[in-house]
């Protein structure tokens, strides 16, 4: 697999300004040559900066397939995954916001901010820590997994797709209705994929499924198309 690992030049957590994470797309940067990655542009605050000014860049050969990008995260890093169509984006640490995903996989080892997966059309977002409220708002399709914490109003206005709330029963909006107890086989494929990608919450997720622990499934948002689902350990 081709790709790049980006580490903050300014220790420990990069520039003090907001960083536009939409410039960190694995499907754009993952296949670029060394020189082109170094000179790729990224918005930091109001200034356009070269990637090499912000990050130490080194080749990455951790992941198994497709273009990849592994970046050190920050709560000031926003719009991660926006426009991304394929590839793997691994965020080491926290993420500010992740939204507008069109495909591919975004894995966060720390926590993430509000509205994770806003308007997501496909692909996977997995957060090993906690997230702020309104995860999966206006989700069109795809999968969002959050390993920890109780979710606050997940999936508002979601049409299709899946939100996995592994930290416990979320506070669900009125547009959701209980379907029942499920043990879907496809989650086992997802758990294995997350394990192969080195996702930090993969082991616990896999253990949960292997133990046969049932999941509760709610469908929604019925104020929208209503073909989505929110799953959490029963």
């Amino acid at each position: 697999m081709s790709g790049w690992s980006l580490r903050w030049k300014e220790r420990p957590a990069g520039p003090a300004a907001v960083i536009d994470g939409s410039g960190l797309r694995p499907d754009r940067l993952g296949t670029l040559a060394w020189k082109d990655v170094q000179s790729a542009k990224i918005l930091v605050g109001r200034l356009e900066r070269r990637l090499e000014e912000i990050f130490e860049i080194s080749p990455l050969d951790l992941l198994e397939e497709g273009p990849g990008l592994e970046v050190e995260g920050s709560t000031r890093m926003v719009r991660l995954g926006e426009g991304m169509a394929h590839g793997v984006l691994k965020v080491r640490g926290d993420a500010g916001s992740i939204q507008g995903l069109l495909g591919g996989e975004v894995l966060v080892s720390g926590n993430a901010g509000p509205e994770v997966g806003l308007g997501q059309r496909s692909g996977l977002i997995a957060v090993a820590g906690r997230v702020d409220g309104f995860v999966g708002r206006h989700l069109r399709a795809g999968t969002i997994l959050v390993s920890q914490g109780e979710l606050e109003l997940p999936g508002l206005g979601m049409r299709r797709g899946t939100i996995l709330a592994l930290g416990g029963k979320p506070r669900l909006a009125s547009g959701f209705e209980r379907d029942g107890i499920v043990c879907p086989t496809w989650l086992r494929l997802l758990a294995r994929r997350l394990g192969a990608l080195g996702f930090d919450g993969a082991h616990e997720f896999n253990s949960l499924l292997e133990s046969g622990h049932p999941l509760e499934s709610w469908s929604g948002d019925h104020l929208s198309l209503g073909r989505g689902e929110v799953l959490f350990p029963a």
Partner: protein, 302 residues
Amino acid sequence: MKQNSTLKIHGTEILDTFAEAFRMRCARVVITAANERWSETAAQTFTGYGTSIIACDAEAGVERTLTSAETPDGRPGHSTLLFGFSMESLGKAVANRTGQCLMTCPTTAAYDGMPGAEERVPLGKHLRFFGDGFQKSKVIAGRRYWRVPVMDGEFLVEESVGVVKAVAGGNIILQGVTPRGTLEAAQRAVEAIERVAGVIAPFPGGVVRSGSKVGSRYKALRASTNEAFCPTLRSRARQTELHPEATCAYEVVLDGVDEASVRLGMREAILAAAGPGVPLISAGNYGGKLGKFLFRLHEVLA
């Protein structure tokens, strides 16, 4: 049949002849289920009535049993192979069999066992419509799966399966002094084939007793019994091919994902079957004019 040289293995003469095999298309479907019992049931049903393409929609068999660690979803499973003459006929057979034998079977899921193949036939892409609009799909690691709602939850089936150019019709014919000894030799051959990857023996238990020839005295029939190997017709057959000591003959037919796997399967089968009570091992062919692949017994043993 030409006989140039003599080759004996454990006292069994290996006739200097060849098996005549054909080009077919092959798909591998990996089946999983909640436990081994249901995976086995699904695999046996899925590959049932798949002995010969002469009268079945496909030639099919269980390639091997898979451990939980070897399957895509970590459950017990079976790898199955299906062979057909064309992409179209094979695709239809795979989809029909999946719909009737896997979707109906408790807890199963069906996956593509040849993800690297360039040619593909649709599977879940068609079967999803059973979901009547309630079906959902997921893309995981670049592969699309369909979740069809059923009464025990969901039937998970991959969107399409890969198809490769394969070889079908490898065979050996073994002749024994006693019926029991011949059957035991045939069983040894099948057990040896079961250990070879990429090969199935599609007939019942891997063994054929009704070896056939092309044509019949009855015009409507394309194939009929091969009297040259029938012990009850030793005197009436135009020319018997039975060894003077033989009272029984069995054929073991092999289909494989490529030439090498068929060759290896035939080799292992001969080595396992040869021994006391088995005076002769030969092979079935049509004179070498019909099949693309000729497997000479002496060459596969070389």
